[in-house]
């Protein structure tokens, strides 16, 4: 027969408490383990991409004839964006200042730079109609418009196949980034866009960016019926 027993068994309550602690701790442990696996997976992806980029660079260097036909630059760009998404997820889990995350981010930035340089070379050698945007962003404190700018660039990247966007954390301590900043004489007036070789400061709307792109790309790539050539933004500063 059922017995109603109100009396508390403190031992039982304590055991439940420890069991709860164990499960709770396991949640943290499991999360940590998964993040470590994610870091390893991203590292492998980055290494793979690094080899691919290096292969193309080598091809450019050793072949007398430029391997334009076999150039799979757009595939590499997609891989790069894919890694960015995964990296962002790890950043959310670990926190933006986590040392492991920062190492991955630095490595990713180097890959971006390599791809950017490769793209420029390929565009020149193979007469490809491509526009590259190096986008320098900051955190919410240093750049209130960066989130908006990032969103607009992502939308444009999806819309226009000729567009390649490379995002760089302006404050990331990385020598190649410092070099780029110094080459283009970039100021800490974020967001900063280096479109092909021209520098633009401040938030650029979708319309403004489309207008800028038209100065680099044949008009029919954007809007086949349009014929007029728009002017560039007043904030543009040509590199030398």
């Amino acid at each position: 027969m059922e017995v109603n027993e109100k009396k508390i068994s403190w031992v039982r309550y304590l055991l439940i408490f420890f069991l709860t602690l164990v499960i709770f701790g396991s949640g943290f442990y499991l999360s940590n383990t998964i993040v470590e696996k994610k870091i390893t997976a991203i590292s492998k992806l980055q290494q793979g991409l690094s080899i691919d980029i290096l292969s193309i660079e080598t091809q450019f260097s050793i072949l007398t004839q430029v391997p334009c036909k076999n150039l799979n630059e757009s595939t590499l760009a997609k891989e790069l964006y894919d890694i960015a998404l995964k990296l962002s997820s790890v950043g959310s889990s670990l926190g933006e200042n986590n040392p492991d995350y920062l190492i991955l981010k630095k490595y990713y930035s180097i890959l971006e730079i390599k791809h950017w340089l490769l793209l420029k070379k390929a565009a020149k050698e193979c007469q490809m109609d491509l526009v590259s945007v190096a986008y320098f962003y900051g955190d919410k404190k240093s750049c209130q418009n960066c989130e908006d700018q990032g969103y607009i660039l992502t939308a444009l990247r999806e819309k226009y196949p000729f567009l390649r966007v490379y995002s760089f954390d302006y404050l990331l301590p990385l020598v190649p980034l410092e070099t780029i900043k110094s080459i283009y004489n970039l100021k800490n007036n974020l967001p900063v866009l280096v479109i092909n070789d021209d520098v633009y400061y401040g938030l650029k709307s979708q319309e403004e960016l489309e207008t800028i792109f038209k100065t680099y790309i044949k008009l029919n790539k954007l809007e086949p019926t349009e014929t007029s050539t728009p002017t560039t933004s007043s904030t543009s500063t040509k590199k030398n």
Partner: protein, 411 residues
Amino acid sequence: MTIFEILTYFSIFIGLYFAIFIFSTFFENRKKIHLKDDKQYDFPLVSLVVPCYNEELNIAKTIQSILNLDYPSDKLDIIVIDDGSNDQTYQKAKEFELEDNRVRVFKKENGGKYTALNLGISKAKANFVATVDADSYLHTLSLRKMMLYFADSSIKATISTVVVDRPKNILEGVQYVEYLMGGFLRKVFSFVGGINVVPGPLAVFRKEVFEKLGAFRRAYQTEDLEIALRMQRANYKIAHAIDAIVYTNGCKTFKELFYQRLRWRQGLIFNFIDYKDLLNLKKHGNLAFLMINSIVGIFLSVVIFLFVAYQTISLIIRQIHFLFLIRWDTLTFSLPKLSWITLNTTPVALLSLVAIICCLIYILLSKIYTLNQEMKYTNIAFYILLFPILNAVWWISTFWSTLIRKEVIWK
């Protein structure tokens, strides 16, 4: 770590502790979940009191379900109390009285459910009084299963499992799952003396409960809650026959459900205040723990809901702002490739998953032990999605109504 994260972790910890408490208690007592039917048991006379007010649509079905009970026919004393209805309730009940001498129908001036119940108890011939809501229908075996518990002389009342009758829309489906889960939890509570409500649709009391502790009280229109707390204060044992099913009509609209829950929750707050001595862990042990747990749970669920609602609204506003930025050119976006790397595997996400699994186990155990085969997966999904929101909204509204001292009227 933000305050929100700390609160979230605290909520998960409390929820997890409660879940382990429930599962361990269930596991310990799993062989005592059902009582075996005893054909030799001498089932006693039971007076079933049915208070009703404007229930012309339901009363016939309710009385008929009592008459159909698988219980010795000469052991049923059916008392219908019409609490001043202004529809055909009285006439419909009277038809049964004319046909069956076990049915007695009385009419009184409207005074509220508790007055009707008390009149019914005063007319009861039996030593056992069952209270039956007029919009509820008894399963044929329900009373039989409940009465078996009274073989133990220390049991002063037995409660049933309330099931929403044939849910037809999402809202009723959500209530269906909620009621069944409530049934399972109450069964587990009964093992540790922690039942704090005697649900109105069907409960059986020894008549001595009212003789010794007094009649039903208005109790902020939640007399079923108050009587349970009064019994607990007197250390009276309350059992739960989990397989004794009573069907009730679920609320069909959000408005109807909102006011019902407002009334229940206001009753809970005021009755808990009136019976705050039950929160004494030394004196009332497990009951006090469960009551404290529910109070903490209420506050945490509201706070977490407010945070999540704030985050969600901010996100929506941000997304709309972004869409303006790209001139609503949504076609430019393609869905990101799914990958295990991009899955949210933060401790909060993983532990929330554990909480959802616990919830699913509650539901599964409820389905198994109430011997219920009709639970639909869609109802479970809607319950998990909607109930946390509804629950928080009801509590916020209750706090507000209580603060401005607005009592929800119900006859």
